[in-house]
Every structure is written in C-alpha cells, then in structure tokens.
C-alpha cells in the first residue's frame, strides 16, 4: 500500500479496518469519529475515490494507493507530487479562507470527501460536523472567502484566520491521541455494568490477569476508595462527592465494573470476558418523579449535605431550590395569578441529548523524569481531551494522593467539547494504570461508550405558571423544575441553579417563585452541556410568555419588550440576586428589534437560500406557515470565581509567545488571544504564538467552560500584553520612541526573554443576550417542519472576530436545531438504545438552514476592549423560537422536545385522509 506517496509494507491483521491500519503507519490525519461509517472523519482517498476508512477491510487495500488529508496537496486530484510537503490542496485552501472549521476534527475527512467527489458535491451526506452548523462549510464549497489579513496592530475586530488553520485542514494538528505512540504503550478496556442497579457480591479477576498480554486488571478492591465527582469546577465543593473510580455498587448500565490493561485493545477486551462477577441486583428507578417519592429505591443512601453535598439522599434529591419573592406591596404568586387578566399554566419537557463532540474522550498517561533538574520522583503526564486541564490535574493529584507538581496535564487541540469535557472521565484510569505498570497507557472511548458511559444533557420537566395584566405586563412568574441527573450528581447543582437563574432573571415580574430539584435515577448520568440548564428552562418560559401574548392578543416581540429587564433593574430569580453580576452593557432591546425587522423583510440577497425548492412550488394545501421568536440571557462568566493567568514573552526569534492555561476546543480562543496580544503589541497577528492548556508551561486557569475563554483568559492576555508593551516601549525609548513598529524592529535581537504577566479572577460579570426568530412551514399531514427563515441576533459587545463569532452562532443554532427537532437518546429501563450516530440523528448539512446572523452594537465595560462571551448562548433561544413558530403556524403548541415529525403529527391530530 502507498500512503501519501510512501510505501507501507506492514501486514494488516485479520479483521483490521483501513482506518486503524493507516494510523498505525503514522497517518494520524485519519481521525476516528464514530468507527462505524456514520461521521466521515476518517475519509481518505482509496485509489482516487473517497471512502470511510473505518468500514474498509484493510486486507483489501493491500495494493492500493491511499491519500489522506496530509497528502492531499501533493497526491490528491490535481496535486503536484513534487510540491512542498505542506502544500495545501485547493479544497483545503477554500476551507481555510472560509473559516470552515471550529474544532477541526471532522475537517480532514471533509476535505478528502470534497476533493475526491466530482462536482456538484451536493449535501455531503456522510460527513458530520458538530461545531459549525455547516454554513461556513457551504461557503467553502462555494469558494466564498470569509477571512481577511489584518494590518499590524489591527487584528482586533477583524476576521483573521485561526492560527492552526493550515495544520487543521491538512490533518497535521495533533489532537489528543495523534502524537506518535510511545514505546510500550498499553491499552485499556473497561467492563460496563449489565444492570441499572446492583451490588457486586464477588469479583474475581484471577483468570483475566493471566490472559495473554495483560499487565493489569483493576477491580474495586484495587483502587483508591476516595469519593469525588467527575464534574470539575473551580471549587471542587460545587459538586457532590458521590463517585468512586470503581465502586462495588453499580448505579447505571455501563458503569465501570473492572478495568483491563493489556498490550493491545483486543487483548484488553478479551481479558474482560474472563472477569468473574457475581451481582446482587437491586430495585431500580428510572423516572425522576418516581425517584423522589416515598418508597423509591435509594441510589445514594446515607450521603449528607454537609459531608457529601447531597441535599436529601432520603428522597434521591441531589440539589434543590425553593424560593418565592414578592416585591413590596405584592402578595405573592398565587394571589397575583388569581388577579391576572390572563394566565398560562403548562408543563414542558426536554429529552436526553448527547454532546457528540467528534473526538471521543481519550487520554494517555506516562511517567517521566520531572521537569526540574534533580527531581527524584517521576512526573505523571496525562495528555487528555479536556476543557479543564488544571482542574483535572488538581483532582487527579487528590485521587492518587500525589503532590500537584508531580502531575502534568496537557490538552492538545480538543476535538469538540460542548461541556462534555468539563469532567474527569478517563484520566483517572490511565493515570493509575501508568503508575501501577510503569508503562504508558491509553484509553480511547468508542462512540458507543460516548452514549452509554459518559454524561449527557440533563433531561428536564418544567412547569410554568405565568400571569399578566391586560397590557401584557407580567404579574407573576413561577417555575417548577425537575431535572434527571441520572446515577451521579456531577454538575447537578450547577446545572439546576444556573438553569433557573438567567432564565427567570431576564423577566421583570413583581411576584416570582422557583421550585427546582435535581434527582438521582438509575439512568446514565447527566452533566454539563452547552447552555448549562438555561436552554431547558428557557424553552419552557419562552413558550409560556408566547402563549400569554397570544391570549392577550399582543405581538410576541412587543410582549417581551414590555417585560424584559433593563439596565438598573435588579436581577431576581426566586429572590433578588446579590453578587457580582452587572449590566456591563445591554443589547437585548437591539436584538429584539433586529430579529423583528429581519423577519419582516425578504432574505438578504447575499444569503444563499435554504436547500429546498422554491416555496411556490410546494407551499400549499396541507402546509401552514408561522413565525416565532424567543430570547435568552446569559452571564458572561461562571459565578464564584474563574481564575486565569497569562504570560506574554518575547521569543528567541523575536516573535511573541502567549502562555495561557485555557484549552482550545473549537471555541476559537487561540485566535482571539492572538488577536488581542497582537493588537496590544502593535504587531501582525502571525507574530504571536499561543501555547495553551499545559499545566507545566502555563499559569493556573480554571478552564474553558462557561464561555470564559475570551472574556476571562482574554482579559488577562490583554493586560499582560499591555504590560509587556509598556516594558518594551520603555526599553526601546532611547532609539525608537514614537514609532509604531518599534517592537518589530528591535525585539528579535535585544529583547528575547522579556515577559509580562497578568491575572483575572472572573469578577465582576456582565450579561449577554440572544434572540432567535424563525419562519416555518408545517405540514399537517406528515408533521414535517421546513424552516423558511432563520434569524439570530446576538449581543456580544464589541465583536473580536466577526467570522469566528458568526461561526459560533451558526454552530449553536445547528446544535440547538438537533435537540429541538431530531436528537434524542432513547433509554429503555436504563439501557441506552441509541448507541450509534446513525440511530441518533444529529443534524447533517441538509438538516440545517442558513441563519442570518446580526450583532447588537454595544460596548461592554467589563470585557476585553468591550467584548462579551458568546459561545454557549446562541444555543438557548432556538428551541423555544421554533416551538413558538410552529404554534403560530398550527395553533398547537409543542411542549416536548424534540419536535420530531412523528410526534408533531400526533400532536396535530393529523389523519391520513388523502
């Protein structure tokens, strides 16, 4: 076989697929997204034609010519074999210029697919992207250029290219497991619980330990007994201590029972079959309402609020909030509703949703001599796909009883996160196994394990009671939230408290009440997911507000204008919020205006139309048309401290190096940090290199969550760069004062090693806003919904990189359309049924319309150069806007997500009459 022009002679193993064969030969441009032919991340050209290499038997390709993304420029269609090895193919250049990737994990497969497909490329069935919402990919296919080159010092606010772009599109950027395998690498396989609730009576790993190639087998007898939470926060006390590395009690199907470590993944899997386990099954509960009733099986009995931070273990309640507030002169929610001109009462539900980051969880651990000379104890290195390297380091040190300086955690480029990688899920296993065996150890989760073993989005049931006077002013707003946190309480308190927070606070009502509980069940655990609870609760509240407007005959946008908070208003949830949340800026009014105006006019001519035939050819008969809007507010930074440190150094080559601890997982912070530093220093953006997410080279950073990368780490980068600029200016004052290119002139020869640093504690915090609007057509006979217009307005303060921000919004909308319309983890009696992507229905290109993205014109006084965060937020208003549009079209309000065709058809009471 020839791989990118190089002969490979290794014999494939029986049953080996081409994907793993190629990676074993060093062709790590070939990614694993699903290993089942559904996602396309592993696409290569096989004798010139694109194939998903995970489905191709390697033995058949023995004499084939294979081209990966890394060789596309030289050996792809039209390529020049004599060109520079890093030469890009025209398709790859188009992806760079269109900014058609975010995390970039799918990109190597995408460019191979496009390059190998004769035009027209069509709808790219067979390539999934979770980050972009596909708009920028459409742009790349059309040859549109969305990026620009900024003058020195002018990068802030410009659509500059991501620094890693060329490496990402050619598959050269190293994700978690893309570095060459260290010699002696061992592999992990984990036995999952077959029962939703059981106790291990007896477990015998003797035979497994003797199996060929096996170096280690761990059961609950062999691991630290320390309680922890997989969720990671700045303050580890935010989450309940209810988890053990290996626990004799199993609380969900798929929970770790035993760990095998062997020389090959297959040997490790084979060893698991030899682990002899006797289970005592226990009664299980899957419905969160049943779980909190008397007599329900107790899932974590004996856990206490003080020691474990479990609110009420006797009712399976992990976290709860019950608050009511009436402004002076008001008599509370019940009295206000009784006196209201119109009221609405209803229940909304959201289902289990999977993050589907294209890169699965995975980590490698190894031991090496310490970084400081003379260190006697080896340092435990962990390279992992995480959003929070420092928080992982801290908890690993605690779990393994090691000093922090003996643990180094590094994240390479992370292939998508969406909150799912704000957890400690694989690192503990590889770390302990490396310590026990002295060998490097790797664990790469399968796509199936992503569905069955790791946390998903919290499903919620939300009751809303709302009332308004005849003018549409809210008199009362009350919610009753029940969240299913599954078998463990990771992120249960955070998601619950955040979920009810900005969603309630964004509306003014003199009487408010919040009842909220997050409840253990024997389902797969829930965890952090983009929006962190807000999307679920806002789906319900925005539906109720819409319904109230309809009852009063008030335009839905006007209804919101009359009731949203304005600068100066207190933030009230179930009581007034005291804390560090401020109106650093306010653009909600603009967002409402922008969406209202956009929905009223024809689509802008520069926007390509959605990929459906012209409306007039089909829109008749059983189709009904309607519009809907919804809004969302989000705090720009997580509460209670989000710490960061940035250092900017003049490198030996005269360029500038930014060391910052936050992680790049497609959120674009590396681009943003380079733009900020280059702007402060007055240099071209390509003279700044950002080194991120390494606990040994960067100062502490809480992590890449809560949309903190731009406004927390970014502010520290800005301050450090400002400080360095001042130093450099004074050092160079004698020769070059007043010249804007002073740094450019002298840095390389005289100033190498000069540095400055800065920190930020994530306080005070501002608020950001999003409004989404849809115009939809609903087919009453089939339940099909077609999106005719999609408009999104975002209040992100001063926009740092318009193309990148637009990409974040497109991606948030696309992901939200999935949870709104098609995505659902089906779980029956605790068993996840949807275990592959082909059964899960995350959006493909053909499922996502182009959204018109608009920005409010605001300047935030807290963020770097007036910017606000905008990463999670675009997700939140999409589902309610869609439901409101469907309600407007049909008169029937969907209250349950996802609004699948079959469910909507049933809701509409459609018949099959012809």
């Amino acid at each position: 076989m020839r791989i990118d022009g190089t002969e490979a002679t290794a014999e494939p193993r029986p049953g080996q697929c081409l994907r793993t064969y190629l990676r074993e030969q060093g062709a790590t441009a070939v990614k694993k997204g699903c290993d089942a032919g559904d996602c396309g991340a592993c696409t290569v050209l096989l004798d010139g034609a694109p194939v998903q290499s995970c489905l191709v038997p390697a033995h058949r390709a023995a004499d084939a010519e294979v081209v990966t993304a890394a060789g596309l420029g030289r050996f792809g269609p039209g390529g020049d074999p004599d060109a520079d090895p890093e030469a890009l193919h025209p398709v790859q250049r188009a992806f760079v210029e269109a900014a058609a990737f975010q995390c970039g994990f799918c990109t190597a497969g995408l460019v191979c697919t496009v390059a190998g497909t004769p035009p027209p490329v069509g709808e790219l069935k067979g390539n999934l992207c979770r980050c972009t919402g596909y708009r920028s990919i459409r742009d790349a296919l059309a040859g549109r250029v969305n990026t620009e080159v900024a003058e020195p010092g002018q990068a802030f606010g410009r659509a500059v290219v991501a620094p890693a772009a060329a490496r990402v599109v050619s598959g050269r950027e190293a994700y978690t497991l893309d570095e060459p395998a260290p010699p002696g690498l061992l592999h992990v396989a984990v036995l999952g619980s077959p029962h939703p609730h059981a106790r291990i009576i007896r477990i015998d790993a003797t035979a497994a330990r003797r199996a060929p190639g096996v170096h280690l087998v761990l059961t609950h007898h062999d691991v630290p007994d320390t309680l922890y939470s997989t969720a990671r926060h700045e303050n580890r006390l935010d989450d309940p201590d209810d988890t053990r590395m290996l626990d004799p009690v199993l609380r969900f199907v798929g929970q770790r029972v035993a760990v095998a470590v062997a020389e090959t993944p297959r040997q490790a899997r084979a060893a698991l079959a030899l682990v002899d386990v006797e289970y005592e099954t226990l009664p299980a509960v899957f419905d969160p309402e049943a779980a909190r009733q008397p007599g329900a099986p107790l899932i974590h009995p004996g856990r206490t609020p003080d020691e474990h931070r479990v609110a009420d273990a006797s009712r399976n309640v992990v976290a709860q909030l019950h608050e009511e507030y009436a402004e002076p002169g008001h008599g509370g929610v019940d009295a206000a509703l009784a006196a209201s001109a119109a009221t609405v009462e209803g229940t909304w539900t959201t289902d289990r949703v999977n993050h589907v980051a294209l890169e699965t969880h995975g980590a490698r651990a190894w031991l090496s001599p310490g970084p400081s000379a003379g260190a006697e104890q080896p340092v435990l290195h962990v390279r992992t796909s995480t959003q929070v390297p420092f928080l992982v380091r801290d908890e690993l040190a605690r779990l393994l009883d090691l000093p922090e300086e003996r643990v180094r955690v590094v994240a390479g480029r992370v292939g998508g996160g969406f909150g799912g990688k704000q957890e400690l899920l694989v690192e503990d296993v590889v770390a302990l196994a490396a310590l026990r065996t002295g060998r490097p150890v790797q664990w790469e989760l399968s796509r199936e394990q992503q569905f069955t073993m790791v946390p998903c989005r919290h499903p919620m049931r939300i009751g809303v009671r709302a009332g308004a006077d005849a003018d549409g002013h809210l008199t009362a707003l009350a919610i009753d939230v029940l969240a299913d946190t599954g078998a463990y309480g990771n992120h249960a308190p955070g998601v619950l408290f955040h979920g009810v927070h900005e969603s309630m606070a964004v509306y003014r009502a003199p009487n408010k009440r919040v009842d909220a509980e997050s409840v253990y069940t024997n389902n797969v655990p829930s965890g952090a997911f983009r929006g962190y609870g807000l999307g679920q609760v806002q789906f319900a509240i925005e539906g109720a507000i819409d319904e109230l407007a309809a009852r009063l005959g008030i335009d839905p946008v006007e209804m919101r204008r009359r009731n949203v908070i304005r600068p100066g208003d207190p933030f009230v949830v179930g009581r007034p919020v005291d804390g560090d949340l401020e109106y650093g800026s306010y653009g909600l009014d603009q967002c409402l205006d922008l969406v209202e105006e956009a929905l009223a006019r024809e689509p802008s001519p520069v926007e390509p139309p959605p990929a459906v035939e012209p409306v007039e050819t089909w829109l008749h008969g059983e189709w009904s048309v309607g519009t809907g809007v919804a809004l969302a507010m989000i705090a720009t930074i997580p509460p209670r401290g989000h710490f960061t440190h940035a250092r900017v150094t003049v490198g030996a080559d005269g360029d500038f190096v930014v060391d910052v601890g936050t992680a790049e997982f497609g959120n674009g912070t590396t681009t943003v940090h380079a733009q900020i530093a280059a702007t402060e220093l007055g240099v071209p953006v390509d003279r700044v290199r950002v080194r991120s997410s390494d606990t040994a080279t960067a100062g502490y950073d809480t992590g890449a969550f809560g949309s903190a990368g731009s406004v927390v780490a970014g502010l520290a980068v800005q301050r450090a760069a400002q400080s360095l600029k001042t130093t450099l200016d004074s050092l160079s004052a004698g020769h070059l004062s007043g010249r804007t290119d002073a740094i450019a002139q002298i840095a390389s020869t005289q100033l190498a090693g000069v540095w400055a640093e800065a920190t930020h504690d994530g306080s005070p915090r501002s608020v950001a806003f999003n409004v989404h609007g849809f115009r939809v057509a609903v087919h009453r006979g089939t339940g099909e919904v077609r999106i005719l217009r999609s408009v999104h307005a975002a209040d992100a303060g001063v926009v740092i990189n318009p193309e990148q921000l637009r990409g974040q919004i497109d991606g948030g909308v696309g992901q939200a359309l999935g949870s709104a319309m098609t995505e659902r983890m089906v779980v029956r009696d605790g068993v996840v049924v949807t275990r592959t992507l082909r059964h899960y229905r995350m959006p493909q290109l053909s499922d996502v319309p182009v959204t018109e993205v608009l920005f409010a014109d605001t300047v935030d006084r807290l963020g770097p150069r007036g910017a606000k965060s905008m990463s999670e937020a675009p997700y939140n208003p999409v589902a309610p806007a869609l439901a409101n549009a469907i309600a407007d079209a049909t008169g029937v309000r969907p209250r349950d997500l996802p609004i699948q065709r079959d469910r909507l058809w049933e809701l509409l009471g459609a018949t099959s009459d012809r």
Binding site: G126, R266, A270, T822, R901, D902
Partner: protein
Amino acid sequence: MDLDIDTVRTARTRADCVLRPGEVFLGGGTFLYSEPVPAGVTGLVDLTGMGWEPWSVDGSGLRVAGTCTLEELVSGPGALGTDTGGPYRALGIVGQCVAALTLSAKVARTATVGGNLALGLPAGSMVGLFAALSARAVVWTPDGGSREVAVSDLVTRAGVVELARGEVIREIRVTATVLRQRTAFRRVSLTTAGRTAAMVTGCRAGDGVALVLTASVPVPHVLLVRANDHDGLDRRLGWITGLGDGAWYEDTHGSREWRAAMTRRLAHEALDELGDV
C-alpha cells in the same frame, strides 16, 4: 472498526465458499465493520474475491451479483432506467432506492446488494427495490447446489432472512417483462436524509399494480391491487393493521402510528402515479 477475529480468507472458487467453524461471509463489509462481531465469529470469508460480474442484461432480463456494489448498481442498471419508456423503464427507481439508505456515496462504493438483502433490515431498500421488480434470488447452498427464492419472501422477520448457515446470495434476477414496466418510489423519514421510516415501491403489471411496503413493516408486504383502486388499497392496508401490535414496525426512527399513516399516504401516491396514463 477493527473486528476481533483471527482469520480472513478471500474466496476465489466455489470450494472456498464452504464455511469453516466460526466463519461468516463478508460482502462489502460496510455493516459488518460498523459493529463488533457477534460472539463466536472468529473468521471471515471475503466474497468479493469471487470476481463475479457485477451485473448483466440480456434478452432474459437483468442479473445482479450479490457482490455488486450499490455504486455499480446505480451507475449500471440504474442508468439504464428511464421515466418515459424503453426496455429498462422499471429501473428508473434504482437511484432513489439507493439514496433511501442512510449511507453516503463513499459507503455505496463498498456496500453490496447481497449484503443489504442479507441483513434483512426493514429499512433495507434493496428488498423494496427487488421485491417490486418481482425479482428472485439465486442462493448457493453449502452442498454445491443452488436454489431460488423470491426476494419478497427473503425476509422472515426484522433483521432475519431465510438463508441457512453457509448459504450465499449469488445473484438477483429480474425478468425482461418486468424491466419494461412502470415503477414508482416513495419514502419518508424523520429527517431529510435519515433512516427510512416508510417506503413504498410499486410496479405496474397489466391492469394491476404491485405495491411493496418496507421500512414501516417488519417484513415486506406485497399488495396486489387494481390500478386506481384506492378503496381496494385501503382494504389491504386495513388488513395489515388488523394483524395486531407487531403489524407496523417501530424503532427509534418513527412511531408505529405515524409510520402506518405515512405508509398509507405514500401508497396512495404511488398508486396514483401508476394509474392510467
């Protein structure tokens, strides 16, 4: 994905097609390599080494080899099909039937007709295609002989086909008479390119129309109705519903009730299309 097996044999002769203990046949492999192999499977016999001609047409009709890839099916017989007439008019629905699968062109390059049939999945569109064409499958038996079975009888329950261990789908045969007929295709799924939830294929035969229901039913149903007889079609559909709870198929790609209703819509549309011209 990598399969935990020990041997792969590439079959070159009929004698190679005799399975040894633990072996199963490998067609294109696009399904086999997408899931862990079932317990007890230790080896594969790769049928693509047999070198069967992918397809051929002559005066007696169309033959499609079990190892014909879906891409070859579309670019070969599919390209012969027309909307307007001619000797291969019936093949006009081939492209739609392949597109009905969730797989992309990249996978169609490897996936085979025989593999799709042998899976026996309700949404396996080769069943709907060839059943509508009244095709018969030639099955090689392990004793060196062969037998024929109607494609519409191949699937016995969802995911189960009427093939004994060691039997291979050698080829599919469609008669020249059928190839001249008018055919129709309809499908629906929860998303535009998602797994098919209901599919109706149809073929005109004289005064009658054969409608084949797949995806919404666990096994294919062939409904023979007179052209334009919508009441007769409703009676047939009602008879299916009368079979009870399992009559309409349900999985995560659509509820039973919705699928039944969509099937009815699609079947009437197909009957309309195949009515008098």
